[in-house]
């Protein structure tokens, strides 16, 4: 979609100038008008413009001369040259002189819109890059939507998000577990024209094939045992918005075929349904798996891969962006401190060193969990090395792994201790209601000291 731009229309023909300007205003752009090169340069001194639409043939200073002067005095202003049929050579000269593009009069409306979208994207990327470079140079903690990071690797990701958000292309996000693939997908959605629509996420790896089919496509009443009433699927729910398929590498070939059919035909049936339904969604997929390898092994369909991988974006693991570790840790400390109502503690030097030297197999999610615990168990205003669970407990060889229920009990015990056994506060932090927490306390045999 085109970003609103500040456009200067330069044309000596009044009717042409006015009608182009009126059309651009209707499209949401801010528009200035000039009947010649001199007036245009004067206006550029008074106001900032993103784009100049310049007629090539004008009395006095012609379009090419104006283009050269604009590029000297206002290099950030994009220039599109307007030319008539038969003067294509002049358009080529204009491109050589630095024009971003050219338009042949009269313009095809679709072409004009696509060109404005392209200019909008170019301008946004220029601004974003400028801002990110500035932040990096100032050593500030950089952030983008809910993503934190100022490393070159993350700046590249932010730039790619900006670029792809402006399109409707399906996106494949690749990255190790815990790198923040869903946050990237949300950032793309939030910055896209679909941000008013829903963001519907589903983890394909956590479902059986039949459950995933029902979750995605919905079902009619009586479609299978237990289907006591009709239910909309995620495809329907994503209408007008974005559908995010997490762990897409885990879905069966049968489901790949079914989804491929939806992407190709734009219609689908609910499980047990007979009426085709349509849904207008943008597809974003994510995986931690090597899909080309799965294709080679015959476990993933190549045609489906090509459909979902129009634009590929790789989220780097935390170990490849170590400069982001401390800003991320401080970010999580601030977030969890707000939740617990305590002032945010600081990391002491040993804790910092430990965080920086750790391998982070669980990536940002692991860092988040460690900082959540550290905020709870710390004493005073410092987080110390011994409060970082991964280092304290370490990969002790030979120690028996804990069972899931034991980990849950231990976590509940720590949260309760940190909050002096205040059930309401502890339940809020654990994200469960008081009754559930009371039941778990009773079941685990926990007692207040």
């Amino acid at each position: 979609m085109s970003t609103p731009l500040r456009v200067l229309v330069v044309d000596d023909e009044l009717a042409m100038r006015e009608s182009i300007a009126a059309w651009l205003v209707q499209d949401g752009h801010q528009v200035g008008k000039a009947e010649g090169g001199r007036e245009a340069l004067g206006l550029m001194e008074q106001r900032e413009f993103d784009l100049a639409l310049v007629d090539i043939k004008m009395p006095g200073m012609d379009g090419i001369e104006l283009l050269r002067r604009v590029k000297e005095s206002h290099p950030d202003v994009l220039v599109i040259i307007i030319t008539a049929y038969g003067s294509i050579e002049s358009a080529v000269d204009a491109m050589k002189a630095g024009a971003s593009d050219y338009l042949l009069k009269p313009f095809d409306p679709e072409h004009l819109m696509l060109l404005l979208e392209k200019m909008g994207r170019q301008k946004r990327l220029m601004q974003e890059n400028k801002m990110l470079r500035q932040r990096l140079a100032e050593g500030q903690m950089a952030g983008f939507e809910d993503l934190v990071g100022g490393s070159p690797a993350m700046l590249k990701v932010f730039g790619q998000i900006e670029e792809v958000a402006a399109t409707e292309a399906p996106v494949l996000i690749v990255g190790e577990t815990g790198t923040g693939k869903e946050l990237v997908a949300r950032a793309i959605h939030n910055r896209s024209s679909r941000s008013f629509g829903p963001f519907v996420a589903i983890n394909c790896g956590a479902q059986s094939e039949s459950l995933l089919e029902s979750e995605l496509f919905g079902h009619e009443r009586g479609a299978f045992t237990g289907a006591v009433k009709a239910r909309r699927g995620h495809l329907e729910m994503a209408d007008g918005g974005t559908l995010f398929l997490d762990e897409v590498g885990d879905i069966s070939q049968k489901m790949q075929v079914a989804l491929l059919r939806v992407l190709e035909n734009g219609s689908f049936l609910r499980v047990g349904g007979g009426d085709p339904l349509t849904s207008d969604f943008r597809l974003i997929c994510a995986t931690h798996r090597d899909l080309p390898e799965l294709i080679a092994a015959g476990d993933f369909r190549q045609d489906f891969y090509y459909r979902i991988n129009v634009f590929s974006l790789t989220v780097p693991p935390l170990r490849q962006r170590r400069e982001d570790i401390i800003p991320l840790a401080e970010h999580f400390i601030a977030v969890f401190s707000r939740e617990t109502g305590k002032p945010p503690p600081e990391l002491d030097d040993k804790a910092r060193q430990a965080l920086l030297s750790y391998a982070w197999p669980g990536n940002v999610r692991e860092l988040r969990n460690i900082m959540e615990r550290a905020v709870i168990v710390r004493r005073g205003g410092l987080i110390k090395l011994e409060q970082l669970a991964f280092l304290e407990e370490g990969p002790k060889s030979g120690s028996a792994p804990l069972r899931l229920a034991e980990i849950e009990t231990e976590h509940i015990r720590r949260i309760l201790q940190a909050h002096q056994w205040n059930i309401t506060q502890a339940a809020a932090i654990l994200g469960i209601d008081r009754t559930t927490l009371a039941r778990k306390i009773k079941k685990a045999g926990l007692r207040s000291p």
Partner: protein, 191 residues
């Protein structure tokens, strides 16, 4: 839908929008456009007797009509309701090869053409039902411009720009929440 007299007998209040057919244009299309303006924008709409085709707006070299010149005719009458011209012939602007519709943003008039709305995929023709649906979408889009609404970036919103008929088919028959809110505000100002 009925004739002008039928429509005016149901509309008790003076019309806020007049749909003005030019020459021999489908009366069904005019009524469908009017009905949708009335239903979705909640404006009193009247389809008036056809005006003659605006010969002075014909751009002979292009075989099309200049939408800008037609807008001036439609907006000329002081104190008249907002007007939506309905052409069967193709429209253009001096700088655009064609337009499906054109309007004065926050002004008095808009004009639209049915000429391209029957275009189907691969050079074929689409169904009459789809043509009428497209006409209703163009009419709503253009009158919303006249009320003061600019283009919208939200997918599926009726105020999203569509260069051609295929783009219209991707729009819903309605406005996004932001445009809907803005329309409500603009209509209060109009009242």
């Amino acid at each position: 839908m009925g004739s002008e007299s039928d429509m005016s007998s149901r509309v008790m209040l003076p019309p806020q929008v007049e749909v003005v057919p030019f020459g021999l244009v489908s009366s069904t299309a005019a009524q469908v456009v009017a009905a949708n303006l009335q239903a979705l924008l909640e404006l009193n709409v009247l389809v008036v007797q056809p005006w003659p085709e605006p010969a002075h707006a014909l751009v002979a070299a292009r075989g099309q009509y200049d939408a800008g010149l037609i807008l001036k005719d439609l907006a000329a009458t002081e104190g008249a309701p907002l007007r939506l011209g309905l052409m069967g012939k193709d429209l253009c602007l001096p700088f655009l090869t064609y337009v499906l519709g054109e309007s004065q943003l926050g002004g008095r008039a808009a004009v639209m053409s049915l000429h391209r709305l029957s275009d189907g995929e691969g050079g074929g023709r689409t169904t009459r039902h789809l043509m009428l649906e497209r006409a209703a979408k163009v009419g709503l889009h253009e009158i919303a411009h006249v009320l003061g609404l600019e283009h919208c970036r939200a997918a599926g919103c009726l105020m999203k720009f569509s260069a051609g008929p295929a783009g219209l088919d991707r729009l819903r028959m309605g406005f996004c929440p932001v445009c809907q809110r803005e329309l409500t505000r603009l209509k209060i100002e109009l009242a």
